[in-house]
């Protein structure tokens, strides 16, 4: 047979997951100088992963990354096989039999737990559920969030925590022209929440959100950002961290918190968003549902940039009926693929999947959050996927085992014989067009379909 990666013998790659890292991996393959056919598998009928269902609806500009993904999808070498779950509708083995290589770019779909008593009380939620719910993700469509309380608590001070807090802090007018799901907008319109407490385990010099996200809290229509002046006093190690020239982002964050701490409270605004530091949840308390949260004050110890938070034993209590934890994500294992339990990622070397003894597993690659853990923003995944595809292309001579690979045709045979309704890119474009059409009368960029059945009906 002719060399792999030529017109006569194209490299066949299956990519599992159609979020940013999946699309950037597809892009790197398609732009390479070999002949390649890429099949991207997606478990929902809609592509784009967290750009569609993670990026907050009031950050429409960020969602324009989709324009680039649409260009990639327009390539004749790109094929979407959506509404298909790998591990259920097709197996990993099916993919490795039909394709020369498989890239897992399935993200980090589950949350880290707080590990404190009462965590599973009614009223205690993950940020993931709430984000998926307001973004119209079918998995979270029917979740219920009781916003009839005065106080909401968010554990964590990263960008996701900022998104959740900001959505709770905004008025309906600030959200109604975004692509927020209608069911979420209706529930938020009835929200009684007046106080949002965003709790970080370390100090204002260590908060891990971007300055841009934080700045938005200073510009909300009906919510004041509140930071206590006393919380802005730093230990010498944190001061040293902020003096470091390369740590400019943390300095900007600190300066924004500082500016919030000097503001007079705007009494014309009905909501307050408190940023509190050096505290962690110790216990969630309530009879049938969450009633209060016991928070333990923390102290920092360690060298600059390596400071960790430790409980001091001193506690305070905060009455609250709803809490969201946003302390990081973890991946979900896929049958037949190595998985690192404590990291929640697929073990790998620069994107080459490895087993528990660090041996490379041939044919398997990974990119994005499931490769390196849930850090970085959309663009970080581009560099990550480029690295992985670089390794894959280096391995090209080893990927041809001489057997005839059937690619997508083999996958379709399996799906069709099991009567599994799959969705291709042209069908997705029909769903997309109908969503945009549904949004128009409301002045929204789109009104998403939030049930899989609705999406499938829209392909007719």
């Amino acid at each position: 047979m002719s060399t792999l990666g030529t017109e006569q013998n194209p490299l066949l790659v299956a990519i599992v997951g159609s979020g940013p890292s999946g699309f950037y991996a597809a892009e790197a393959l398609i732009k390479s100088d070999i002949t390649v056919k890429v099949d991207v598998l997606e478990r929902l009928p809609s592509p784009f992963g967290l750009v569609r269902s993670g990026v907050a609806p009031d950050h429409q500009k960020l969602k324009q990354a989709i324009k680039l993904y649409e260009k990639i999808a327009a390539s004749p070498d790109f094929n979407l096989i959506a509404n298909v779950t790998v591990g259920k509708d097709v197996t990993v083995e099916d993919l490795s039999e039909s394709h020369h290589a498989v890239i897992f770019t399935c993200g980090a779909e589950s949350d880290r737990k707080l590990g404190v008593p009462g965590e599973d009380l009614k009223g205690s939620h993950t940020a993931t559920e709430f984000v998926g719910w307001y973004n119209g993700h079918p998995d979270y469509r029917d979740r219920e969030f009781d916003l009839s309380h005065d106080v909401a608590i968010i554990i964590g001070q990263g960008n996701v925590a900022a998104d959740v807090s900001r959505i709770l802090s905004k008025t309906v007018d600030e959200l109604k022209h975004t692509d927020i799901a209608q069911h979420a907008l209706d529930t938020l319109a009835e929200s009684k929440i007046k106080e949002i407490h965003v709790i970080g385990r370390r100090g204002p010099a260590q908060a891990k959100l971007t300055p841009k996200e934080l700045r938005e809290f200073g510009e909300l229509a009906d919510c004041s950002p509140i930071v206590l002046e006393q919380d802005m006093i730093l230990n010498p190690e944190s001061e040293k961290e902020l003096e470091e020239k390369s740590n400019i982002a943390s300095k900007k964050i600190y300066d924004l918190f500082y500016e919030f701490s000097k503001r007079d409270i705007d009494s014309s605004k009905s909501k307050k968003c408190f940023f509190s530091f050096l505290m962690g949840p110790k216990e969630l308390v309530g009879n049938s549902r969450l009633e209060k949260v016991v928070l333990e004050k923390n102290g920092l110890s360690g060298e600059p940039f390596k400071q960790s938070a430790r409980g001091t034993g001193e506690t305070i209590e905060l009455e609250s009926g709803i809490l969201f934890r946003s302390i990081g994500y973890r991946g979900v294992p896929i049958e037949g693929v190595p998985f690192h339990e404590s990291w929640g990622t697929i073990p790998n070397d620069k994107g080459r999947v490895t087993d528990n003894d660090n041996n490379v597993v041939s044919q398997f690659y990974t990119a994005g959050w499931i490769k390196r853990g849930p850090s970085g923003i959309i663009g970080t995944n581009r560099a990550c996927s480029v690295e992985t595809v670089g390794c894959l292309l280096q391995d090209l001579p080893n990927l041809d085992d001489g057997s005839k690979k059937l690619g997508a045709a083999a996958i379709y045979t399996i799906l069709d014989s099991n009567n599994i309704r799959h969705v291709n890119y042209a069908e997705w474009k029909k769903i997309d067009a109908k969503e945009i059409e549904r949004g128009e009368p409301k002045g929204k960029p789109r009104e998403k379909y939030t049930y899989i059945d609705e999406m499938l009906s829209a392909t007719d």
Binding site: A65, K252, I377, G379
Partner: protein
């Protein structure tokens, strides 16, 4: 408001920023990079990548660098897109130390 490449990029052009740009909005000439404001989605991924801190959010740009807002917008669209990391310009490391990084 968009994201802008400023003075410090001149004669450095390290291009670390380009690898994390989700939309390939960086363009280049012989001196430096420019961001096309019509393509940039303001994600800020590039900002911490720059070894000489040349990139700013529009809301955060130092006053003496404001002229670069217009220069980026004018120059970028007609220049070639920089999609992959290139070698820094000759003398870039020296300039980086001169700038105090």
């Amino acid at each position: 408001m968009t994201t802008i490449v400023t003075e410090n990029c001149k004669n450095c052009r390290f291009t670390d920023c380009v690898t994390v740009c989700p939309v390939a909005c960086f363009h280049y000439d012989d001196d430096m990079l420019y961001i096309d404001p019509d393509v940039c989605i303001d994600c800020s991924a590039c900002i911490p990548e720059c070894p000489v801190q040349a990139i700013f959010e529009g809301d955060d740009i130092p006053e003496d660098q404001e002229k670069w807002i217009e220069i980026n917008a004018e120059k970028a669209p007609d220049l070639p897109v920089c999609e992959e990391q290139m070698d820094p310009l000759p003398g870039a490391e020296e300039r980086k130390s001169e700038l105090g990084f």
